[in-house]
């Protein structure tokens, strides 16, 4: 055992939320763990696991109304119980000894004050320095977190910085007063993969340099594996496993941890079916499925050919202002074979989603041709397009936004059939809708329910069923699994794979996640700034990337233990 007492110890923490009719729901169910001084502890779990609530409880930032912490809970920081500390004491600790970094850097910074002002404010609050000294210190901090031209950045406003830079500012603010404990709540989730890696390196370096303890909260086990000393795995408000990082990755004890580690696609493997949590919870042993071979074959038939597609966004300023246009997709060409999958990867803003929308004519393309079995879709009149529209369908990213919240599932599924004259009457359409619902793994009685009664994964299944009712030949999946938890993501990926095998669908799989794209794709197209930088067979591309940007993307994929981050901060 550790002879020195831990910096922070959470004892039997129990947090419940009361909704408007007074029903309590326990978000954290009596958890206990320690954070030793100078160590990094990672809190890992899927959404609803209570990890963020725990972090907020430590800093007492949970809302005062409707939230209840059980009386026998204790959070000891340096021997003091934070749950009984006075407001004054708490204020001294927050920002001083305990600092926080949040998920959304843009909204977490006050938009109307300059970056410098917000750092100076913290410094002057907790240390006895004058404004001038605080200014000098703030510049030094901005330099330390790796912002270019820190002098000039001092007077910048948050909206003038990129997401990564904003998060660096948040980190500078957090370490300003040399905290003993830094709580980072999903600090990289809102950022692109390459930026995520940079921020993680920065945090690791700062942790070593300042000797802080870090509580790192994340949904991504691979990510924390690179960084943490200890890992706490949470599920549904309780701790499933708490062990040193090596043990978690090499000899996980808890079935849930095992499942979390396995159900995310890996670059090195491509099983015919991804394992899901259920495979590990039962008594039966999990058997490794055979690997799947991918890649376009010589006898494949072309279903979709895109030639030199360009999409421009126009913006106007006022009645007499000039027109501005920006090229979102620039000269992209590719072919999709029948029954195959083309993966499209790139970071946010690279034009991959716009490309998907332009193919369906949901977004006007400027130049180029989209040949669907030889017919140029972009040249068709709206009337001619109708029939083609049915054959190419799209599943969107956000399962909470892509279903009309006022429609029942039956309405959602029968509307496309009604519009395209599938099924002869309402009764038959309802029958077909039920069939499709069962096809995607939902019970027939779900027809009478409304979207808000389903979880994210279930909604995505409904969205897929809506497309299937029209018997499409091509399905565009626009980040369709990105918003889902890893365990649900595996299930939906398995469903997509099963549907392709059964119905011979061709997929355009758009994602920022290279591992997921590799799992599902025969060919992969890498996009940057609207251009295609590399297009190759999946296996070739991942084994021997040609373009430096592709290599950069591949390097940024979190690999988990033992690919530890080597701090690169001076």
């Amino acid at each position: 055992m550790n002879p020195t007492p831990p910096l922070l110890s959470v004892r039997k923490l129990r947090v419940s939320f009361r909704d408007e009719h007074g029903h309590g729901a326990e978000a954290v169910k009596g958890i206990s763990f320690d954070i030793p001084a100078g160590k990094t502890v990672a809190l890992v779990g899927e959404s609803g696991s209570g990890k963020s609530v725990t972090a907020m409880a430590i800093t007492r930032l949970l809302p005062e109304h409707g939230c209840h912490i059980a009386a026998d809970s204790e959070i000891l920081f340096d021997g003091r119980n934070l749950l009984t500390a006075s407001r004054r004491e708490l204020r001294r600790l927050r920002g001083g000894d305990i600092a926080m970094v949040f998920q959304e850097p843009m909204s977490s910074l006050n938009p109307v004050y300059s970056v410098g002002e917000q750092i100076i404010e913290t410094l002057m609050l907790h240390t006895r320095v004058g404004r001038k000294a605080a200014y000098q210190r703030a510049v030094a901090l901005l330099k330390e977190v790796g912002l270019p031209t820190p002098d000039r950045k001092m007077s910048s406003y948050p909206h003038q910085l990129s997401g990564g830079q904003q998060q660096r500012v948040m980190i500078a603010m957090a370490i300003a007063c040399e905290p003993k404990l830094l709580i980072a709540d999903e600090p990289t989730t809102a950022l692109d993969v390459t930026i995520q890696q940079q921020i993680l390196q920065l945090l690791a370096g700062l942790q070593k340099k300042h000797g802080m303890a870090v509580l790192f909260i994340s949904h991504d086990l691979e990510l924390v594996g690179q960084f943490a000393d200890e890992v706490v795995v949470m599920h549904h408000g309780s701790i499933h496993e708490h062990a040193p990082v090596q043990q978690i990755f090499e000899a996980p004890q808890d079935p849930y941890t095992k499942a979390l580690l396995r159900c995310r696609p890996h670059l090195a493997q491509r099983p015919a079916r991804l394992p899901v949590i259920k495979d590990f919870l039962g008594d039966s042993c999990y058997f490794e499925p055979p690997q799947r071979q991918r890649g376009y074959q010589a006898d494949d038939r072309v279903i979709l050919e895109v030639q030199g597609l360009c999409v421009d966004y126009h913006s106007r300023h006022g009645w007499f202002g000039g027109r501005h246009s920006q090229r979102a997709v620039d000269e992209v060409s590719f072919t999709l074979m029948r029954g195959r999958t083309l993966g499209i990867v790139g970071e946010s803003g690279c034009g991959k989603s716009t490309l998907g929308l332009a193919l369906m004519r949901l977004q006007q393309a400027s130049v180029g041709r989209v040949l669907f079995e030889g017919e140029d879709m972009l040249a068709l009149t709206p009337r001619q397009l109708r029939d083609y529209k049915r054959r190419i369908q799209i599943v969107f990213q956000n399962p909470y936004a892509s279903l009309n919240p006022r429609f029942s599932v039956a309405q959602i599924l029968t509307e496309p059939m009604l519009l395209h004259g599938i099924g002869c009457d309402a009764e038959e359409r309802l029958q077909l809708a039920g069939d499709w619902l069962e096809h995607v793994g939902l019970p027939r009685k779900a027809l009478a329910k409304y979207p808000h009664e389903f979880s994210g994964g279930q909604r995505q299944r409904i969205a897929i069923a809506r497309c299937l009712t029209m018997h499409p030949e091509i399905l565009i999946c626009d980040e369709s699994v990105s918003a889902l938890d890893v365990s649900v993501q595996a299930q939906v990926l398995n469903l997509l794979q099963a549907l392709q095998d059964e119905l011979g669908l061709s997929y355009l799989f758009i994602s920022h996640d290279l591992a997921v794209v590799k799992h599902l794709s025969d060919q992969v197209l890498v996009m940057q700034h609207g251009r295609c930088v590399e297009l190759a067979d999946a296996d070739t591309l991942y084994a021997a990337p040609q373009h430096p940007y592709t290599r950069q993307l591949l390097d940024a994929i979190p690999q988990g233990w033992p690919h530890c981050i080597k701090p690169r901060v001076a």
Binding site: M100, V112, G321
Partner: protein, 312 residues
């Protein structure tokens, strides 16, 4: 900045043209033939024809519109039909009292409402908060007419603390003697809705992530409220101030009518009663111009409050 202002002023042209078109359609087309009103009892054909010729009503409509446009551009609206005074001279003498009254109500009312709203938002959920919200809701429901009638009756007629009505030529006399009661009533009428709205602005801002950051920094609640939240909440507050101008104009109109203040509002009411079209048209054009200028001013104030706003 200057280029922006020039461009914005240039953009007012179509709007002003629209207002002219609206007024023209209203008064020269929908409004029918005003010569019947003017002729009074002398409804002889010659008299009517004379009046029509005098007003240019015998001209084709496009030509009449051109005449109206010239009037607007030169800000010379001819003479009032009822008093035969030049309209521009009449209105110039009316602007001062109106500005004094509405300006003071706006200033005092806004400062008071923001202060109370910030306090109540800070105490959100408490008994004080609920009480103030409830009182404000009830106070809002009483017609402005009732406040003015009751205020004038009890505070001036019965209480004798204020003059019942009147206005003098000396600004000092007006400020000390005649202004206080209309000002008080004007502020009372506007206070309740403003408090409710500003409170909701503050409470909404309090739910944002940057407030959580400010708390995580260890700032105290009053500092968070006064430094971080107030400036962000000013953005919707300034918008509502701009939007409240029409209501202020309405309130001032009643106040001016009740207290005999010779302002634009009173003039409008009298002009509508007498069907004095030139005066109504002139006042509408003047107020529309003022509203447009005020909108421009609001946008510039936005820029000062919120660095994200780009003037282009």
């Amino acid at each position: 900045m200057l280029a922006y202002i020039v461009r914005r002023v240039w953009q007012m042209v179509p709007t002003l043209f629209g207002v002219m078109l609206l007024l023209f359609v209203l008064f020269n087309w929908v409004g029918g033939d005003p010569s019947y009103i003017l002729a009074g009892k002398n409804l002889s054909a010659e008299a009517l024809a004379g009046i029509r010729q005098q007003l240019g009503l015998d001209l084709p409509l496009p030509q009449q519109f051109l005449i109206f446009m010239r009037q607007v551009l030169t800000l010379d609206f001819g003479t009032s039909w009822s008093t035969q005074q030049p309209v521009s001279a009449l209105l110039h003498s009316r602007i001062g009292p109106s500005l004094l009254l509405t300006g003071s109500i706006l200033l005092l009312g806004t400062v008071l409402a923001i202060a109370i709203a910030a306090l109540v938002a800070y105490l959100r959920g408490s008994v004080t908060d609920r009480l103030v919200t409830l009182i404000a809701t009830c106070a809002m429901s009483v017609s402005a007419l009732v406040y003015i009638i009751a205020g004038q009756y009890w505070l001036a007629f019965k209480g004798g603390w204020f003059p019942i009505m009147g206005w003098s030529d000396s600004t000092l006399d007006n400020l000390l003697h005649y202004l206080p009661l209309p000002l008080l009533l004007g502020v009372i009428v506007g206070l309740a809705p403003d408090i409710r709205f500003y409170r909701s602005c503050f409470v909404e801002e309090l739910g944002h992530d940057y407030v959580r950051t400010a708390r995580a920094k260890g700032l105290s609640e009053p500092v968070i409220m006064l430094k971080h939240v107030l400036r962000n909440a000013m953005i919707p507050v300034v918008t509502s101030l701009m939007m409240s101008l029409p209501y202020l104009m309405m309130g001032a109109m009643l106040l001016e009518t009740f207290f005999g203040i010779p302002g634009m509002g009173k003039e409008v009411v009298m002009a509508v009663e007498r069907s004095d079209f030139p005066v109504i048209k002139a006042i509408t054009i003047y107020i529309a111009l003022a509203t447009m200028l005020f909108n421009l001013l609001t946008d510039i104030v936005y820029k000062l409050i919120d660095p994200r706003v780009q003037l282009h």
